[in-house]
């Protein structure tokens, strides 16, 4: 049952957009939504779409990523042949790639060795549950060289690397604007592409010989007239991570039942590493509303409009509002937090008051003991 597909996830693209959260990790291993890491969405989308061989391309700080994905077993990708491969950069070559094409050049032998007909290429910065099967089907039927997945939505507020796509009447890519000064909704490229594999092999070699490194510039922009590049519009919930405020916004967006329905349909689960935590425990003083709570949490205080990760605890008399509390955050008795993002293992002592604002959340780095 070969389906001729190879998945490649570039894990360190866009790291600079959220320097706080990527200080010690790749963008792909940023914790999200109580029990997930960003990469879980891309990996699960591939797994649920029948893509059985997936290469992860990190460039730096990828210990947490390797620890998280392990042998890929949670995604059913622990296989004798193929399955999940982590492809760190070779020593001697440039460790930190400048762009996607350079990242792919580093793993060109892995790509060449695959007998896939098409490659699904994506980053790990998108929170979405996308069924890639119709994308691939359309790609094959339309005869496109490259099919780009986009979402019809507003241009990002914290705009960086926001690419708007324009197509002609026949659906071929006409133009691409990077960080456009445009109002209203546009076709925003999600950095998810399906490419014919032989073409990708050629493009990697060509870009390397010209010392070009960007997929958007050197392939999409440069070749839009030559190649048959088409688009696929995705209409489900989707967020492309663009910064710390967007991280808070998209975390709290999970409190919307429609968003959860689109992200977590029973037939296409988002897989993640299993931690064997006990069910969440509520004390007799707990008062919780509009909050996402994960196994291993212990709540005896008041929590409102927040996301609590595994093992987070909120003691009696503490008040938490509009916050994201990552793994094992401890909020002491009588403490008050508003619009705060705490990274893993943060300790907020009893009685501490901390507040950011909805538009400018306060971030507390990993392992901080206040």
């Amino acid at each position: 049952m070969k389906n001729g597909l190879l998945g490649i996830i570039v894990c360190n693209m866009h790291d600079d957009l959220i320097p706080q959260l990527t200080a010690n990790r790749t963008l792909g291993s940023i914790p999200f939504g109580g029990r997930y890491r960003m990469i879980d969405f891309a990996l699960s989308n591939m797994a649920n779409s029948g893509i059985k061989d997936v290469g992860l391309v990190p460039s730096k700080n990828y210990q947490s990523l390797m620890n998280h994905v392990g042998n890929g077993q949670e995604w059913d990708m622990s296989r004798k042949n193929g399955g999940l491969s982590i492809l760190p950069p070779y020593a001697g070559e440039r460790g930190v790639y400048r762009g996607r094409m350079e990242a792919l050049y580093g793993i060109r032998e892995y790509i060449k060795a695959s007998d896939a007909e098409n490659v699904v290429l994506c980053d790990s910065d998108v929170v979405a549950n996308i069924d890639l099967r119709p994308v691939i089907e359309q790609h094959k039927e339309s005869g496109a060289d490259i099919t780009l997945v986009y979402k019809y939505s507003e241009v990002f507020k914290e705009k960086k690397q926001c690419a708007a796509l324009f197509f002609d009447d026949y659906g071929k890519l006409l133009d691409l604007y990077l960080n456009p000064e445009l109002d209203g909704k546009q076709n925003i490229y999600l950095d998810i592409a399906v490419i014919k594999k032989p073409l990708l092999d050629e493009l990697i070699a060509e870009c390397a010989s010209k010392d070009e490194h960007s997929f958007v510039h050197s392939v999409l922009m440069a070749k839009k007239g030559v190649l048959n590049i088409r688009g696929y519009r995705f209409d489900g919930y989707c967020n492309k991570l663009t910064g710390l405020r967007n991280y808070l916004d998209s975390s709290l967006a999970l409190l919307d039942p429609e968003v959860r329905k689109s992200l977590f349909p029973a037939e296409r689960p988002i897989y993640t590493r299993v931690r064997d935590e006990v069910s969440a425990r509520y004390g007799e003083n707990a008062k919780v509303s509009e909050t996402l709570v994960t196994d291993g949490c212990h709540i005896d205080g008041e929590v409102e409009k927040s996301v609590l990760f595994r093992g987070a605890s909120v003691a009696k008399g503490a008040k938490v509002k509009g916050c994201v509390l990552m793994h094992n955050t401890t909020v002491g008795e009588g403490a008050a937090l508003e619009w705060v993002i705490t990274d893993k293992n943060v300790v907020i002592p009893a009685g501490t008051h901390l507040a950011g604002s909805e538009k400018y959340p306060l971030y507390i780095p990993k392992d901080t003991v206040l």
């Binding site: 969440a280 509520y282 008062k287 996301v307």
Partner: protein, 390 residues
Amino acid sequence: MRKKMIAMLLAGGQGSRLYVLTKDLAKPAVPFGGKYRIIDFPLSNCVNSGIDTVGILTQYEPFELSEYIGNGQPWDLDRMGGGAFVLPPYQRNTGRDWYKGTANAIYQNLRFIERYNPDYVAILSGDHIYKMDYSKMLEVHEKMGAAVTVAALKVPLSEASRFGVIIANEEGYITEFEEKPANPRSDLASMGIYIFSADKLKKYLTEDEADPDSENDFGKNVLPNMLAAGEKMAVYSFEGYWKDVGTVDSLWEAHMDLLEASDLNLYDKNWKIYSRSPVMPPHMVEAGAEIKSSMVTEGCTVGGKVEKSVLFAGVEVEAGAEVIESIVMPGAVIESGAKVIRAIVGEKAVIKAGAAVGEPGGKIALIGPGAAVEANTSQPAGAIFGKEAK
């Protein structure tokens, strides 16, 4: 490959005193504690004790249990040269038999045990909630030079007649053993957990099998025979939480124990209880929800009131519903305006809008898996309500 000790887990129990809960499900597969099934406790104990080969003997309704065990990976029992094995009765050239009793079940799998050629075999049962380090029990077994060591704990004398009762001497050797005596003379109860020296196990099981009058039961036949033959039989005294959850009341009580500060600590990082996790997002507490003194698992959505209850994965409690002093198993739905008080609600059961189950202070009501309590109807305290046969 030679192993020091392997475990044989008796998981064929029907659990008839759990009524509709075990109609289509083996007792060890009954959900427990929000995330677990009963069998997770002995399985996790094995792994945490350093046992990497476990034979799981199934007979009654084996499908769900077999699927749950799978390749044993959630318990780290997917091993080269060992791991978890589901062992149903099978046909051999000398004939075929169901497992006739606990001893016969092991006897029928002696060849499995011989494949691993262990020095010791732990015989465990799949229907108790407890945490035990079998390696410590093995230390006692070795030190005492015993043929078999029986784990035991003190119970109130009034309850001892439900158990195998042990009388031991000062050194800790068993001098008398009575299975479920009418008038117990000791408060030391066998927990149904044994460590045998493998050669002795083989000897006495073979002898037991040859006796046409035997009920092929460890407590009734094998242990008394060993005692009569003068074998050294040691007691391993266990202290800590241990509960047979074989009845509706005890299953409910064990969950209430979880909510109180009891001896059953699930949070010990060095003695985790593992389980096969459903893949579900964190649970959502909606605006207007009220959750107190409860445990809630991933995949739940709570809009109503939940107090002193345990909600398993994927349970929905709609706004306006109330769940009090109850256990709600995976995927069950409590619709708006429904009241569930002192009840066990089985997997995927639906308590429809405005329905009432159980009563404050009343006997525990039981709603079977997949059953639907129709809107605005009620099931009184102590009711047992199963899915209608189709």
